[in-house]
Symmetry: C2
Subunit: 192 residues, 2 copies
Amino acid sequence: MGRWEPNAHGRLATAALELYNERGYEQTTVAEIAGRAGLTERTFFRHYADKREVLFAGSGELQELFVRAVADAPESATPIDALAAGLDAVSETFADLREYARRRQNVITANPELKERELIKLASISAALADTLRRRGVAESAASLTAEAGVAVFKVGFERWIVAAEERDMAQLMRESLDELKAVIVGGRGVW
Amino acid sequence: MGRWEPNAHGRLATAALELYNERGYEQTTVAEIAGRAGLTERTFFRHYADKREVLFAGSGELQELFVRAVADAPESATPIDALAAGLDAVSETFADLREYARRRQNVITANPELKERELIKLASISAALADTLRRRGVAESAASLTAEAGVAVFKVGFERWIVAAEERDMAQLMRESLDELKAVIVGGRGVW
């Protein structure tokens, strides 16, 4: 990346999200994205494999961050506490991305193929978390269950966080979702 | 379906699974499946849209069964108890299908595209369960969390059930998985 393209990666992502929201994901071309960002198609392809990847380039980083925080939790932490540490780390990184996340979610929700891709990315995060928990000494199926629960809490907390009027921070909403899962799982009738 | 094709649906499924396990899913053609079943390609296409659908035709029934049992749980049942009723109903139906399920899982696991399809089917079950719980009066996010937890328990219980040496019945393994999830979620250290 040369000096003449400052923050090309971010500019392309912003331009793509604008266009996907304005005219729809299918109707947007790479040429239009590059044009809106004031860059060339060639530059686009130096940063992203295709127009779909613009939406999912961050998923790998999210997974790494989540997994690293779980791996680095104190040795004495229970699986669910290690997972909560992961949710905290993720929340901290997302803090400034709420508006971006809202616009991205609009695009994903409107397109079945993108929704499938999102599911697959979340399943990949779940598998990586389960592996990490196993490396912490958690038994096979307990690791899988904790990881699946963690991704469920992440999904629900994330959905709350991007609601239009919502202003509470992500960490708080993740904690609330985790508490709600606990309440549901132990069978308390308070949630009815 | 004429009288000259008794149980064509099942014969085709059995033949397909045999071939997928023997030579791999990609390498198997519809003509070969029909031939192994002693039927024509034309008959195959009366029963299944393509060779992938042989593996997923049962997923819709599974979803219906699971959802119906959750919907029909006593009004007084908590969300998690309604879910447990769904797992019981599913287990009863699967009882005689363990060997079939093992062979199907071998095929799915060996093929990334099929694994993705399986994830999408499970996500569809989760969404349907969440809708059903909402119709029972469960709050929005509690319904999503319960449904995701239910699918996680189903996945882990199912994986245990198809382990080669496993002889305990599915209902028992589902209950154990649910209990394990409870133990993990409340943070007990017994699972370490």
